[in-house]
Symmetry: C2
Subunit: 322 residues, 2 copies
């Protein structure tokens, strides 16, 4: 009898990442292709089908060797129909019948979910989440997103918006957000948010600071620069990091008070600041949680990096068996 | 073949409420007994067993007619072991083997959960929740509690603290809470919180107000008085109601942004203020949610009143079949 395997796909605006995994979540093969977003993204799904078929051929594998394919995608997902709409970084403006096309092209059952949810599944299964039933994943990147697994299930909500951690209101009188409201977590702790906070605090700051000099001289400053300068004890940079950790700790605290997950995992580019970031978030998390939550919910750093997406996507395929 | 039924028990510090229901959630018999908390609450479980056996005898029913018994209880519940500890209003200071005693005494399978979770299950199943998969229930009483059902499952969290909505931090510099931190929702929107807000705003208020007169003259003022005076357009009372609805709207907004339930149900004594309260909370909820959540998550008033507990408790017994 053939060993059963699963395929994970992480569809992004620049590359499509693929992996073949065992049902235990071990990656056996991994490859990627460029995302061709020309012609309204109409080449994307055919390219995915061709790449999978090519690889199976190369590895001398058949469709029957697989339980299924799971994919994480940007945009709005209709999980029942297996379609995606409004993925603007893929040029997908109209409804894309992804499941139908991939199942027809590969002969393998297919399922999908949005990219933030899929990364949460990956970190929960094989990363910092220790495969516990209750895990929340926060991705701190250009934007702030997330995914929530509770009682072993990914949460979706009435309109698929569960896990939109970036739009928690942490400062009712704060910065305006692209979503239309004010003071969203994303306006403060995303990569662009951190620079925004730096500019704001710099205006009021009068002391010596390399960060202030960089900002004042019109240099391009990134969130990475802010963290590096803070580690070198630049006073303004330390104020900025403290400010963003306060709001991230408040948001994490309220997620803890509401859901009490065993792990609250910080991932995405900003989390590269590592323990320097985590320890400061933990300090505010303690301030904003009641004792049983302070003791039972742990703030952790993500462990899988870019692999979270393909691993979590593949884990979706395991549900096809149930 | 016997028609299958379920029993729901709502255990409180003053009374124990019982009901026999169909598996469709229709109440067929309902009764209650006083809670005897003497002798460290050691009479409570024997009284429950005796009352059930007496009623089954009265209605000419057998243990075999029932799928199971579900109970909602104060205190900390160990669902696997079927025990309760730390229910101080029952005088239960040590671990109580409730499941073991009730199953032995009645011959009917037994399961339990905490009272706020059980009320959430009731409102979701037969009340304002329309039996949708994603429903959050907030109880506004002496304290503020709640229960969260997502993807059809009650959420518990790592240490059983999921749904502790009263301890969401809504005002980081606000009132001190009994839990040890500051600015918890409960310090503002519980029955006692509302009076606390009234006293605070009264100090700064200089205009004419019956509420201010009552407070200043040392009269006992309740949250009900505050709402009634606000409906009569007492200026201070209106400010108090606006203030508490702002924080309740902020908390509801962040629950919406994080979980996107189809219904967010307001219950408990304070919710007796009805549409006057709900409409003001909705206005702030809209301000604090992003568009897809504003459109898909509805703020509703609880519909079952005191029956939410027995109905939700009984629904726990349906899970015994699975």
């Amino acid at each position: 009898m053939a060993e059963e395997k699963i395929i994970g796909i992480d569809l992004g605006g620049t590359t499509v990442k693929f992996a073949i995994l065992t049902t235990q979540g071990e990656i056996q093969q991994k490859w990627s292709i460029q995302t061709n977003i020309l012609d309204e993204g109409s080449h994307i799904v055919p390219d995915i089908v061709e790449s999978i078929n090519h690889r199976l051929n190369l590895y001398n594998m058949q469709a029957e060797d697989f339980i299924g394919i799971g994919m994480g995608t940007p945009g709005s997902v209709d999980r029942k129909k297996g379609t995606v709409i409004g993925a603007y970084n893929l040029n997908w403006k109209t409804t894309q019948p992804v499941k139908e096309q991939i199942e027809k092209g590969t002969g393998i059952p297919f399922t999908l979910d949005n990219d933030a949810n899929v990364a949460a599944l990956g970190e929960r299964w094989k990363g910092a989440g220790d495969n516990e039933p209750d895990v929340v994943f926060i991705t701190l990147g250009t934007g702030v997103g997330g995914g929530i697994v509770m009682e072993g299930d990914l949460l979706h909500g009435a309109a698929g918006c569960a896990g939109e951690i970036g739009h928690i209101t942490v400062d009712p009188d704060g910065f305006e957000c692209t979503c239309g409201k004010k003071g969203c977590l994303e306006t403060i702790v995303s990569a662009t948010g951190i620079v925004r906070v730096a500019r704001k605090l710099s205006e009021e700051y009068a002391g010596a600071s390399e960060l202030k000099q960089l900002l004042d001289s019109g240099e391009e400053v990134t969130s990475k620069d802010v963290f590096e300068l803070a580690e070198e004890e630049d006073q303004l940079a330390m104020m900025v990091v403290d400010n963003i950790c306060y709001y991230l700790g408040l948001a994490c605290g309220n997620i803890g008070n509401l859901l009490n997950p065993s792990s609250l995992i910080l991932g995405g580019g900003v989390s590269a600041a590592g323990e320097f970031l985590r320890s400061k978030v933990v300090a505010y998390f303690k301030q904003f949680t009641f004792p049983q939550v302070t003791e039972s919910t742990r703030i952790k750093l993500a462990q899988l990096g870019n692999d979270a997406g393909i691993i979590g996507a593949a884990s979706l395929a395991l549900k096809l068996e149930e």
